[in-house]
C-alpha cells in the first residue's frame, strides 16, 4: 500500500491541535509507517508542494493573505480536514467578532495602522471542508482515528451526540442537577467527558451538538445563578459564530 501523503497547515491558532497530534509520542514512529509527511513546517524542513492526500488545517482565517493561502491548500489537497475549533467554527478567536476591529486592535497594539486583520472565519467560509474534527484541542485518539479511517478509505466516524452521553457512560452524577452551570447538553461529545469526570462543568470546547435545546439549558444556567451576561459569554466562547449558538451568543 502506498503511504498516505499528509500535510499540516497553521493559520490563526495556538498550535495546540498540532501538539495534540504529536501527543502520540512513542506511537509516532509506528504511525510514520502508514503516512508520509509532505508538509509540516513546525516539524520538518521538507516542503513538498503536493498534491496531498490529506491536509490538516489548524486555525481560523483572519487575514487577506490567509484567504488566498487556504484556497491554495484546497487546490492541492484531496481531502481537507478542519482540525480543531478555530478551523471548524472560528473558535476562541471568534470572540473578537463582538467588538469593532478598531476596538480590538487598540486594546493590543499602540499603532493599529500596521495591523492587517479581517473578520474571523472558519475554514469552510472560504473553501469546502471534507472532515470536521472539533475540539480545543481535538483528542489525540480522534486525530489518530481519522488518519486511520482515511488511510483505510472509510469516511471518518465522529460522534455528533452531546457530551451528556459520554458523561452518563462515565457514571458521573449530573452537574446541572447539582446546580453547576454545565454546557454538556448542547455540546458535541468526543472528549470523553473529561471535564465532568473531574468535577468541572463542560465549557463547550467541542462546539454545538446536533439540534441543541439551548432555550432549556439557558433556564437551567439561570437557575444555577449565572447572570444573562455570563450565559451569553458561555455561548460566545468556542463556537459563537455557529448557527446553533449565534443567537444565544448575542449576534
Amino acid at each position: 500500500m502506498a503511504k498516505m501523503r499528509l500535510a499540516f497547515f497553521k493559520f490563526a491558532s495556538c498550535s495546540g491541535c498540532q501538539l495534540s497530534a504529536l501527543r502520540v509520542n512513542e506511537r509516532l514512529l509506528d504511525l510514520l509507517d502508514l503516512v508520509e509527511i509532505d508538509y509540516w513546517v513546525m516539524v520538518s524542513d521538507l516542503r513538498r508542494e503536493g498534491p496531498y492526500d490529506v491536509a490538516f488545517v489548524e486555525g481560523s482565517i483572519t487575514t487577506p493573505e490567509e484567504i488566498e493561502e487556504i484556497k491554495e491548500v484546497r487546490r492541492r489537497s484531496e481531502v481537507l480536514v478542519a482540525l480543531g475549533d478555530c478551523a471548524v467554527t472560528g473558535g476562541l478567536n471568534s470572540i473578537r467578532e463582538w467588538m469593532s476591529q478598531k476596538e480590538a486592535e487598540k486594546a493590543v497594539y499602540e499603532n493599529p495602522l500596521a495591523i492587517k486583520s479581517t473578520s474571523v472565519r472558519p475554514v469552510d467560509y472560504y473553501v469546502d471542508v471534507d472532515v470536521y474534527l472539533s475540539g480545543c484541542p481535538p483528542s489525540t485518539s480522534d486525530i489518530v482515528e481519522v488518519i486511520k479511517d482515511l488511510a483505510l478509505g472509510f469516511p471518518p466516524r465522529l460522534p455528533k451526540y452531546p457530551v451528556c452521553v459520554e458523561c452518563k457512560l462515565s457514571e458521573n452524577e449530573c452537574l446541572l442537577l447539582k446546580g453547576v452551570p454545565c454546557m454538556g447538553p448542547v455540546v458535541k461529545a468526543g472528549c470523553g467527558a473529561i471535564c465532568p469526570n473531574l468535577g468541572r462543568p463542560c465549557e463547550g470546547c467541542y462546539g454545538p451538538t446536533v439540534d441543541p435545546n439551548t432555550e432549556s439549558l439557558i433556564e437551567k444556567l439561570r437557575e444555577a445563578g449565572l447572570s444573562d451576561r455570563e450565559i451569553m459569554y458561555k455561548f460566545r466562547k468556542y463556537a459563537g459564530l455557529t448557527k446553533e449558538f449565534r443567537r444565544e451568543a448575542g449576534l
Binding site: 514512529l29 478567536n93 500596521a114 465549557e203 459569554y233
Partner: protein, 428 residues
C-alpha cells in the same frame, strides 16, 4: 555590495516567523526577525470576561505552553482577589508546571532542534539513524504530558484548573504510582546525555543580561524573585518599573529592554546560570561533564541547559511526591472584587508576565501579557548580527542554515509572541 538573504518561513519552531538579512562587506547591515503570525488579540478578547475564565482563555495563547499561561493567569487573578492558595495547591501546580516544561523541552530538543546537529531535515530522518535517541526523547515527552494529565486532566489545555485550586486532585496512590514513570524518564535522559553533550555546538559567545526567577532551596518556576546576571534583584510587582517595551520603526515587533541597559535573554540557559546551586545532585554531576562551564553565554548551549533542566525537574517532581502533603481541599473559595495584580512565572522559554485589572463584579477591565519569546526577540536579533558577521562570505544557504539554527536554539514560541507584538504581515 549589499546582499540579501531571506528565510521566508522558519521551520522547526512553533508559529510563523521569517528572517530578512542584509549583508555588507563588513558584516550584517540590517537584520529583521519578523513575525507573520496572524494576530489574535488576546488582550482584547479578555475584556469584559469574568475572572474565572481568564486562565481558560489565556491557555489558548499557546498549545505548547498552555500550563504556564494558566498558572500565571491564575496567580494574577488570585492576587487581585486577595486569595492565597494553600501549600498543597501550590505544590500540585508546581508538578503540573514541571510537566509542562518537560514536555516542551523534550519536544524542542529531540524533535525540533537536534536534527540541526545531526544533519537531518527532521526527526523522521533522524530517527532512522538514531532511533534510541528519538525514542528516549519521546519517552521524556510522554512523562511530561502524562504528568500534566495526572494533575490537570489533559495535556494540551488542562481542564481541572480553576481560580482557587482544582476541581479535583489526584489521590496519593496515583501520584505514588507515577513516580515510576518519572524514574524511567530520568533514566532515558541520563542515557542520552552523552549523545547530547557530544554534539558539536557552534563556538559563539555574546555577553548579555540573563534573567530568571530565583528562590532559595528550589528550582523556581511558579514564583520567585527576578534576578539577572547584571545585578537585578526585584519582586514581580517591580518588574514593569525595570523592564519596559518599546516600539521600533523598522519592524512592527515590540522590543523589551532593561531600564538603562540593553536587551536580555530568558529561558533554560539563564535559568541554569542563575540557579546553578539549585540543580539536583545528578543534574550538577551532569553539568560537570557536559563540557560547558556555567555561567555560560553561548546561546547554542541552551540545548545542553534543556537536558540539565529535564534531569533536575524530574528529580524535583519525584521529591515533591515523596515529601507528600499533597492532599487537602481541592479549591478555596474566591469572591470577586475590584482590584489589579500581576504575576510572573517561568514558562519553558522564560519569564511570562500577566497583569490584569477587574471591576467589583470580577469582570476584566484591562489585560496585559508579555510572554518570553516576545520579551527577548531583540536579543535574538543582536545575537544573530554578531554571530553572522563571521560568515558573511558563506553562501546564502549556509547563512540561512546557521541563522535558523541560532533562532531555534532560543526555541521561540511565535504564537505566543504574535498576539502581543506589533505584527506586520509581509510575505516575500
Amino acid at each position: 555590495m549589499n546582499r540579501r538573504v531571506y528565510v521566508h518561513y522558519i521551520s522547526r519552531v512553533e508559529g510563523k516567523g521569517s528572517l530578512e538579512i542584509t549583508l555588507g562587506d563588513e558584516g550584517v547591515r540590517e537584520l529583521k526577525l519578523r513575525i507573520f503570525e496572524a494576530p489574535r488579540f488576546f488582550e482584547a478578547i479578555l475584556l469584559g470576561r469574568p475572572y474565572y475564565e481568564v486562565h481558560e482563555i489565556t491557555s489558548r495563547i499557546c498549545g505548547i505552553c498552555p500550563v504556564t499561561h494558566q498558572i500565571t493567569a491564575l496567580r494574577a487573578v488570585e492576587k487581585a482577589m486577595g486569595v492565597e492558595v494553600p501549600e498543597h495547591i501550590k505544590k500540585l501546580r508546581k508538578l503540573m508546571a514541571i510537566g509542562g516544561i518537560l514536555s516542551s523541552h523534550a519536544l524542542h530538543l529531540f524533535l525540533l532542534a537536534l536534527p540541526d546537529y545531526t544533519g537531518h531535515p527532521n526527526v523522521v530522518a533522524m530517527a532512522k539513524e538514531h532511533p534510541d535517541v528519538v525514542k528516549a526523547g519521546l519517552g521524556i515527552k510522554e512523562a511530561g504530558d502524562s504528568l500534566i494529565e495526572l494533575i490537570g486532566g489533559r495535556s494540551v489545555h488542562p481542564v481541572s484548573t480553576v481560580v482557587g485550586g482544582f476541581t479535583s486532585i489526584p489521590t496519593r496512590e496515583r501520584l505514588e504510582r507515577f513516580k515510576g514513570e518519572l524514574a524511567s524518564a530520568k533514566e532515558a535522559a541520563l542515557k542520552v546525555s552523552d549523545f547530547v553533550f557530544g554534539l558539536e555546538y557552534p563556538d559563539f559567545e555574546r555577553r548579555c543580561e540573563h534573567m530568571a526567577l530565583r528562590k532559595r532551596g528550589e528550582y523556581p518556576i511558579n514564583e520567585g524573585r527576578v534576578v539577572s546576571t547584571e545585578g537585578l534583584d526585584i519582586s514581580e510587582d517591580e518588574y514593569r518599573e525595570h523592564v519596559y517595551e518599546v516600539q521600533v520603526d523598522y519592524s512592527t515587533a515590540k522590543h523589551s529592554y532593561v531600564r538603562g541597559r540593553s536587551s536580555f535573554m530568558l529561558g533554560p540557559l539563564p535559568r541554569v546560570n542563575i540557579n546553578f546551586d539549585n540543580l539536583s545532585d545528578d543534574a550538577r554531576e551532569l553539568a560537570d561533564r557536559c563540557g560547558i562551564k556555567f555561567p555560560c553565554f553561548n546561546p547554542f548551549a541552551s540545548n545542553v541547559a534543556r537536558l540539565l533542566e529535564i534531569v533536575t525537574l524530574l528529580d524535583e517532581a519525584m521529591s515533591i511526591i515523596e515529601e507528600g502533603g499533597l492532599e487537602g481541599t481541592p479549591r478555596v473559595r474566591v469572591e470577586p472584587r475590584a482590584g489589579s495584580a500581576c504575576a510572573l512565572t517561568e514558562a519553558p522559554r522564560g519569564l511570562n508576565f500577566h497583569s490584569y485589572e477587574f471591576d467589583e463584579r470580577g469582570f476584566v477591565k484591562r489585560a496585559s501579557i508579555a510572554p518570553p519569546t516576545c520579551q527577548h526577540l531583540r536579543n535574538i536579533e543582536l545575537d544573530l548580527i554578531e554571530y553572522l558577521s563571521d560568515y558573511v562570505n558563506e553562501s546564502d544557504e549556509e547563512i540561512a542554515r546557521r541563522s535558523q539554527m541560532l533562532v531555534r536554539a532560543y526555541d521561540p514560541c511565535i504564537s505566543c509572541s504574535a498576539h502581543f507584538l506589533e505584527v506586520k504581515v509581509k510575505r516575500e
